[in-house]
Symmetry: C2
Subunit: 394 residues, 2 copies
Amino acid sequence: MSSPGDILDLISRGDAGTRAELARVTGMARSTVAQRVDTLIAYGLVEEHETGASTGGRPPRVLRLATERNCVVGVDLGATHCRVALMDIGGRLLADREDPLRITEGPEPVLRHIDDRMHELLAQAGRPLAAVKAIGIGVPGPVEFATGRPVNPPIMPGWHEYPIPDYFTSRYDLEVLVDNDVNALALGEVRHGSTAADNLLFVKIGTGIGCGIIAGGRLHRGAQGAAGDIGHIRVPGADSAACRCGNTGCLEAVAGGAALAARLTQAGVPAADGRAVVDLVSSGDPMAVRLVREAGRDIGDVLAGLVNFFNPEAIVVGGVMAAAHEHLLAGVREVIYQRSLPLATHRLTVAPTEAGEAGGALGAGRLAIDHVLAPDNIDRALAAHAAGAAPAAR
Amino acid sequence: MSSPGDILDLISRGDAGTRAELARVTGMARSTVAQRVDTLIAYGLVEEHETGASTGGRPPRVLRLATERNCVVGVDLGATHCRVALMDIGGRLLADREDPLRITEGPEPVLRHIDDRMHELLAQAGRPLAAVKAIGIGVPGPVEFATGRPVNPPIMPGWHEYPIPDYFTSRYDLEVLVDNDVNALALGEVRHGSTAADNLLFVKIGTGIGCGIIAGGRLHRGAQGAAGDIGHIRVPGADSAACRCGNTGCLEAVAGGAALAARLTQAGVPAADGRAVVDLVSSGDPMAVRLVREAGRDIGDVLAGLVNFFNPEAIVVGGVMAAAHEHLLAGVREVIYQRSLPLATHRLTVAPTEAGEAGGALGAGRLAIDHVLAPDNIDRALAAHAAGAAPAAR
DNA sequence: CTTACTTAGTTCGATTTTCGTCAAAAGCGG
DNA sequence: CCGCTTTTGACGAAAATCGAACTAAGTAAG
């Protein structure tokens, strides 16, 4: 028994593109499938496109997601930037834009900025506001996902407990998902990129270090939504490094972008931040290269433990520092393959992210898409639609 | 729309115990619920028991799992022991028995032993063989769960790729689930014990150290079924300890039962194995106490990292060494609360397991029960039953 | 160009499933 | 004993689903 939501799921995943195929895959009668499809078309989620290639008989009519009328907005909020992306529910990027923006300015100005950019992008892409079904936002700090409230975020003063979704839901008829930025990145990697993995770690190495976790095909957020905070795991042999968290020997204090910049500066090679370090590496500065490779080994040390514990099939590295991935990954791989168990590393891939600059925003958009297209939510929406339409028709 | 399987799920979880309650919970018509229940009763999975207490009107008839006719067998295989437990599908222990048995003897003798014990326990409990719907087996090594084949298990020579389920499925009409022993323990803790947690780590500290992972309410096995192998994570400041895995500084080489026994012996207090260490601790030997507490700190060091990464709501400690849990847990807690982030430790509980000696077998049994009662499997079984019965009746 | 064949989609009556109401059952309280 | 409440079973009504027949739209062979 497949509900309309399940049908839509098959269409959106590309598992079935025509009525006949849907009938074969679900095992339901063709007439029933046709009726389900009609419902979805009437509701505006599915469209009939061109007729496909014949396989010896009447050519099928291809079904597609109604990408013209259904979009989402993905937002990547960083400490000093804000990227907003407009995507259709097929996952295609329609338009995006990045601006410098200090998250420390507080919720209202930042959310107003997002709001403005959303309208700009909609105008640019020629889509109406009503086409936006959901907004996904990735923020650089812990969030209670269910309510969309940041929880004591270290680098987001003024955001603690702020109900981010309310800003938009009080103005527009759409849904808002707020999550940690690394979770968005991880989701984007498995659902948008080509890395098909049910168990994946997305390691973001920027100023700090964080990790998005896909466990059994689903995002793992942990009990308090604090999962993935690997920046403060202790690195063997680095007890002298003091971390902003108050402890010593944290991974972030050893291999984070800020830490590398500081160490490089101290060694006589001035570097303002992580990006500066990356630039030095690109230009072949031997000291910077050595430091980054060493950082890779430190990160690898922590990841080796996590590989034993979690047994992922892929580790994807992103973030500012990942731009220097040849040297960084060399160090990471070196230690992982040395320290992790053969069974766990046997088929493990360690690779840089394929998503570019817009990765975070695309991942956040994917979060929104997954929510909009979730079979349960579709069925609920259709039921509400039918209940609202039927009495009005009488 | 709740299928018969879902109905059974509600009954087995205790969420609804009468037809009226089921109707309220599922939102389906009472007549529909009654029909579903009839199906389950006819199939022999549910029984009507005594009438419950009236709440002012006709007293309801209480529905229960048909525990008389449906049992499972849970098996805990250790390096040197084999515990077999007979449970009903309600999770109640009917009979169990433990024998010394070297797993190195190889698959056939060991499985024959299990087979014999199963029949003994059945006779003892007065249940027919046909009542056994599934067997769950926890083994001390990595297993490909889907096929029930061990994968290069270090302490199980001769078991590599051996198809354990076949031994039983070729003889009897039942299903066999084989998993790592720590996974069984973890499952037993959340489903059998009182620790209700969607994200839990069960840390087994015996000769070696392993960890069962519950992520989002489900067992996390990882890509190769190798997840939870925390015994070979590197402990900061222990690089001198050589491990049997070939590396140095592994947790197991520092805090495992075998390592502790060796260190204690070296210090002039002879101890044969982990259990001997525990005995010494119980008798108040100061050296042993100090060592165990130190081991707790080392384990805590690794767990602190995993708490940051995984953000569980509970850590449960079991295994031989956990018998000395006052001192062990003191060390574990000490380091975790010092090194993990406040948000992650805020509501974290660290406690010894409540399951006793039979924990492993009970957990393995729970694995079998969960499989038997899984809504999808129930619906499949009912469909097959109906398809087989209907044509015969004509 | 026609004809046979194949596959896709639609229509509509038959069947099955589910619902909702009604009545009977079974206890409580006065 | 009688009204009240709650549970359960029964049965006709309503809805969902199926399946077969039919139409549509192509390919391939002669």
